[in-house]
């Protein structure tokens, strides 16, 4: 067997996938180039921008810093897994409604960071949101709209501002 290739099996957005990958391939290249899921973006490639954020076992991680081989046996979610057949998820709807998307390059990563946060804490305050998305850079919005989208995403009471 070619030592430089590894056979991996993992769950991608609910479906089981098995494939051969080079040992040196990172998870981001696997997702974008092999699986052709282009939602996950490459910004910096070195862990600083969060555009490549995916969920592994429900936790937000940078796909650019993870090897494809390290996905073996894991549950993996990308932004493509958020919408249902009936349409966008509540979180995505909230991003649209609160104008949190301008160029959109940061959006998939932010959605995934927000999804991980909301699973842990359905009513996050501003500080909790800031903690969760500090690894996601957005050059367009100035973040306020993103905070609003995440805070209102679960349909929790919206009127009072908890800062």
């Amino acid at each position: 067997m070619d030592q430089h290739r590894v056979t991996i099996t993992f769950t991608l957005n609910g479906k089981s996938v098995t494939m051969d990958v080079p040992g040196a391939m990172n998870a981001l290249t696997l997702i974008r180039e092999r699986l052709k899921l282009k939602g996950t973006k490459e910004g910096c490639g070195i862990g600083e921008c969060g555009a490549c954020t995916i969920l592994v076992e429900g936790r937000a991680v940078n796909a650019c810093l993870m090897l494809a081989a390290q996905l073996d046996g894991r549950d993996v979610q990308t932004v493509e897994g958020l919408a249902h057949e009936e349409g966008l998820s509540l979180l995505q709807e909230s991003f649209v409604k609160h104008h949190a998307v301008q160029c959109g390059f940061c959006t998939p990563g932010l959605l995934m960071s927000a999804k991980a946060l909301l699973a842990e804490n359905p009513c996050p305050d501003k500080a909790a949101i800031a903690q969760a998305i500090s690894g996601n850079i957005c050059r367009c919005t100035g973040y306020q709209q993103i905070f609003d989208s995440i805070r209102h995403a679960t349909g929790a009471p919206t009127g009072e501002e908890k800062t």
């Binding site: 040992g23 937000a60 690894g135 996601n136």
Partner: protein, 282 residues
């Protein structure tokens, strides 16, 4: 990236046998947050990458008879949410709060942080104040060394390539005050970066009955600061006293590093950060 073989051992023994044979051509990978960056930049070119991130022997945070055990494979997120650390090593827990980003904390390990031997590794000052020992395993057995012996210089780790860090043994401490503080961004301002950590106990008379302090990133290797600790021990913490200790600290730091162009910035920054960190004791 150069091609390499990815190897994921099922248990520690398998990992150690692999290192025994191929250690020289192998790079260990845990969370990969340093290794993948270095591979991409071509700084390292291993034949094999040995993934230790799933080894059960490197996991867990527990109070044991020989001290507080923190496995090398424990992630910064696990440190951040640990109740055992909240009780027995609060400064270590605190350093995880400001460590990189959520995405990085979810995979980055304490073992990787120490083994990378960056002078600005955030877990080192808290480990130093707890007199941490490093537990190392090789095919020949297990040995235990003081942290200062392993982190022997900037980016040089005194680890033979057949060894794996299994974990750390800290002296647990019941304290009334503990903190970790840092200034500066990791990459953009690496030379201006300062980190520090302390823990202390105030007795019923308001005197400092126990005090431990460590400075990170400013000196080539981690160290203890006995003169600063001695100055504060047994005294009632006042603003004046803390400033005096801060001036002593920056004086001693300059004795070690010599005056450099960055000293103009570092001297007041160290003093200011130290006073800010200790002020809650006043």
């Amino acid at each position: 990236m150069k091609d390499f073989a990815y190897v994921r051992p099922k248990n520690l023994v398998e990992a150690l046998s692999f290192l025994h044979e191929y250690g020289h051509d192998t790079k260990i990978i845990a969370g990969g947050t340093d290794v993948v960056v270095d591979l991409r930049a071509g700084v390292i070119k291993p034949e094999y990458l040995l993934d230790v991130s799933r080894l059960a022997e490197l996991k867990g945070i527990q109070l044991r008879s020989d001290g507080l055990w923190v496995g090398a494979g424990v992630t910064l997120s696990e440190i951040f949410s640990s109740e055992v650390l909240e009780c027995h090593a609060p400064a270590l827990k605190k350093c995880a709060a400001t460590f990189a980003s959520k995405q990085i904390r979810n995979v980055a390990t304490i073992g990787g942080n120490v083994a990378h031997c960056s002078p600005c590794a955030d877990t080192i000052p808290p480990l130093v104040i707890h007199d941490a020992d490093v537990v190392l395993a090789s095919i020949n057995g297990i040995r235990q060394l003081p942290l200062e012996h392993v982190v022997s210089g900037p980016y040089t780790c005194a680890l033979p390539d057949q060894e794996i860090i299994m974990g750390f043994i800290l002296k647990p401490a019941a304290v009334t005050h503990a903190d970790f503080q840092k200034i500066g961004r990791r990459k953009a301002l690496a030379t201006a970066r300062i980190s520090m950590s302390y823990m202390a106990r105030k007795d019923f008379r308001g005197k400092i009955s126990f005090f431990r302090f460590s400075l990170g990133a400013c000196t080539p290797t981690p160290r203890q600061w006995p003169m600063v600790e001695e100055l504060l021990a047994g005294k009632v913490p006042t603003e004046n006293l803390i400033w005096k200790a801060a001036r002593l600290l920056s004086e001693k730091m300059i004795e070690i590093t010599g005056r450099r162009s960055s000293t103009v910035y570092k001297e007041p920054a160290i003093q200011g950060l130290f006073v800010k960190m200790l002020y809650p004791m006043v």
